[in-house]
Symmetry: C2
């Protein structure tokens, strides 16, 4: 590969001069014949055969037609499985270099050749750890993110140690991803911003959900089960999450801490209103406007934010130790508090489970929030987000504590399944669907009691009737009866 | 309460003389008027309204008729939820004394009034921690178990620390359950043995399953993904678990370690054959014959065994750190590797989830083993243990790595759902059901591909047809067609 003129901007970012000759362009690298058929490639968030989590309509289409084989895994486990060789099962020996070539984004390279990531850490540390060869994309459009990260690598059992993080702002690693600079085969400059979309707008429904949650949290403080600054919050992505964080930015709680995966625009208000003391995440994903605000607030925020690998941000160990309050949106919930986070009508994959079950399974308070209904083409409330049985299950009744919609909240802690069902139907289900689900539950309970099988009453011959109806001509879950 | 004559046997066990006047009998205690209506009582494994896990036909019947309200929770989480006040939601303030009276079994009481448990620890530490008043049952039939336990209490977030266990034999707590002796209101002597049943016998099926698993573990050692002494094993209860441990006792692996919940009879052979280096569990549950052998081996075993609280034995933090190999039997599995551990035909509760998902969710290798079929009254292979969709889901496709039956093994690591389905049908399903499930999968795949929803092909109108058939007149899952 031809060595290229090194700009001043790049010199400030690549602090190891012996790497200058590796500078090239994407086109030159591709034409050099470096990439060979059958190579195992890795980059942040996605490796060959697509693991884990994905967003985007094109990849979703490929996955749902099985042209791309996708295996969905908890965010916290994917990096461990990668270094354990579970995605390269045919390779013998516990070899470290499981990926032939890895493309990694950096905002700087240190004197030692170590890598300073950008706005997202994700599985990059483990992907770099598993690489035989590295192509580093140094982004000079972005500021140098140095100092914002706390990086630890994943070790194999039986050589693992306790992670010593005890507070959201603890640092236990290095500010860079350790890297053997001899493995860097090419460096490519990028001058483009992260491609992000505008922030999802809050609407009346998401604001009502947020208000129900804030009221519940205040109740928990009053009852003495939560301290007045709450416990560290995890919040998913989307308009409900935005409304919750927006509500907290204007809300009654101060010195709040966040232990989450992705930081979005409303967090900027949360900081600006001096309500958010510290946030830990694996990435910041602001809108273009949000990124601008973020860079303006940089000096203040760098002591109030840390980015970690997803194996740490989603670690069951830390989530349970910190007593995180987890809040996520499912595709659908059922009357017994199981949640579907991934598959529409049981078969069509959306984005993947991501970190939702890492959090819901280990949080001190596991909250699922959803609008009570969604529109279809033919019916403005054609989908009830609460159904008799989820058509796919990613988090179970044993994981969830609280269910919330714009209609109300069901506190399921300590409740038996039949109590949960009544509570959820009464408090959370859309009025259009209350009689339908009440009918289902009453019929199922009666039938199952007669058989002595009524712990979690279901009628397996009718359980998906609402789903089948919305998939059919009528395009609504509003069925006329259960016959 | 009248003070009673203290026997020499009791004097050796109750080493705090100021407690002697508390000695009474169960009858006297009941007649004294101490127990009042509406009191919250706790004892190991079961508190008011029945949490968590339960075994026994009578309690099962009560639960399935909803005369007893039962809420099923992961073993690791129940003690945390208890100390967090989730089972006493109406009590204000983060009060420690959540239970009015607790009955706790001991094999001794120390000079300081602390409690030495017996063969089972379970949630006793947290239950004692939550008690306003304690009734201690001191068992003088059993030997003093002192020295066999490692007890830690559960703290509330944000006051939690890392658990520093890094090896199966690490001790990080005390040999007793800390106890304020002023809370002890009564002591009752028991002279009866633990009521246990005979060990479940291995049969050809369970031995074939065990052999498939041992072969797989040898393969993993050969491939360099497991060290030659393996990683710590968790093994459920029942005849398959017995066959696996029996197989290991005669097998190729030495210096094996165990990190599990319950130690059963076959572990005695495992130790005696010098293959088992160390075992950690929350209880020993031998048959009457097994307990006899255990007490004979006592001097040798006390350096090779430790009993911990269930919040530690089932801790996601430790399970993941140690890289445990988890092996459990479900009620049923589906072709996409979801598992039902609790509910027959979706509604009838068996024993509860116990610790199965604590392990499967966090293990380095998550293995589910089951016979491929079970008999019904009308058909010797009337139940296929592998179905199109589980009628209740406790562990998800994102948790399981390997499925095993007597027919063979399916290594699902890194596989997309459609690949998993083919592998499981070909390798694990009973020959009687292979054509039936192949038909289902082919039809579902075709139908879902046509809709662009084929990531996890299902036909919601037919998915429980096998269940409905076995529940009906024909009493078999062997259906004639999918129409």
């Amino acid at each position: 590969m031809a060595s290229r003129l090194i700009t001043d901007a790049l010199k400030q970012r690549i602090r190891r001069p012996s790497l200058f000759p590796k500078l090239t362009t994407a086109e030159e690298l591709i034409n050099s014949g470096f990439f060979k058929d059958g190579m195992r490639m890795g980059w942040n968030g996605m490796i060959a055969r697509r693991y884990p989590y994905q967003v985007g309509k094109d990849i979703q289409k490929e996955i749902n037609s099985n042209r791309t084989l996708f295996a969905d895994k908890h965010l916290s486990e994917f990096p461990l499985d990668l270094v354990s060789g579970y995605y390269t099962l045919e390779k013998k020996g516990n070899v470290i270099e499981k990926l032939d070539v890895v493309i990694v984004e950096a905002t700087a390279i240190t004197e030692e050749g170590n890598i300073i990531p950008g706005a997202s850490v994700g599985a990059t540390p483990e992907i770099v750890q598993s690489a035989a060869n590295l192509v580093v994309e140094v982004n000079t459009f972005l500021p140098n993110f140095e100092g914002l990260h706390d990086i630890t690598l994943s070790k194999f059992a039986p050589y693992k140690f306790p992670n010593l993080i005890q507070r959201v702002d603890d640092r236990v690693g290095t500010p860079y991803i350790p890297c053997d600079s001899d493995k860097i085969v090419a460096i490519i400059e990028s001058t483009r911003p992260d491609r992000t979309s505008d922030s999802e707008q809050q609407d009346d429904c998401s604001r009502a959900i947020a208000s129900n949650i804030l009221e519940f949290l205040e109740h928990e403080v009053t009852m003495g089960r939560l301290p007045k600054q709450l416990l560290p919050l995890q919040s998913g992505v989307g308009n409900i999450a935005n409304a919750i964080i927006g509500g907290l930015a204007d809300g009654p709680f101060s010195d709040v801490e966040v232990w989450t995966e992705v930081i979005q625009d409303t967090f900027l208000d949360f900081w600006e209103h001096h309500k958010l003391a510290f946030a830990s995440a694996t990435s910041v994903a602001f809108s273009p406007v949000g990124f601008k605000r973020f860079y303006e607030m940089w000096d203040e925020l760098r002591d109030r934010l840390v980015l970690r690998s997803q194996s740490v941000s989603n670690s069951p160990e830390i989530i349970r130790r910190l007593g995180v309050i987890a809040m996520n949106t499912p595709v659908e919930l059922d009357i017994y508090a199981h949640a579907n986070s991934t598959h529409v009508c049981g078969s069509r994959m959306l984005n993947g489970i991501g970190g939702s079950n890492d959090f819901l399974r280990n949080a001190k308070l596991s909250i699922m929030h959803t609008p009570s209904s969604r529109p279809t083409k033919k019916d403005p409330t054609g989908i009830s987000c609460i159904v008799p049985m989820c058509s796919h299950i990613d988090s179970t009744e044993h994981d969830l504590d609280v269910v919330v919609t714009e209609c109300g909240l069901a506190d399921c802690r300590g409740k038996a399944p039949v109590e949960r069902a009544r509570l959820i139907i009464n408090n959370c289900v859309h009025p259009d669907y209350q009689p339908i689900l009440r009918d289902y539950f009453d019929m199922a309970e009666k039938k199952c009691l007669a058989m002595g099988s009524a712990h979690q009453p279901q009628m397996l011959d009718k359980v998906f009737k609402m789903h089948l109806n919305v998939m059919g001509e009528e395009n609504t879950m509003r069925i006329k009866n259960w016959d």
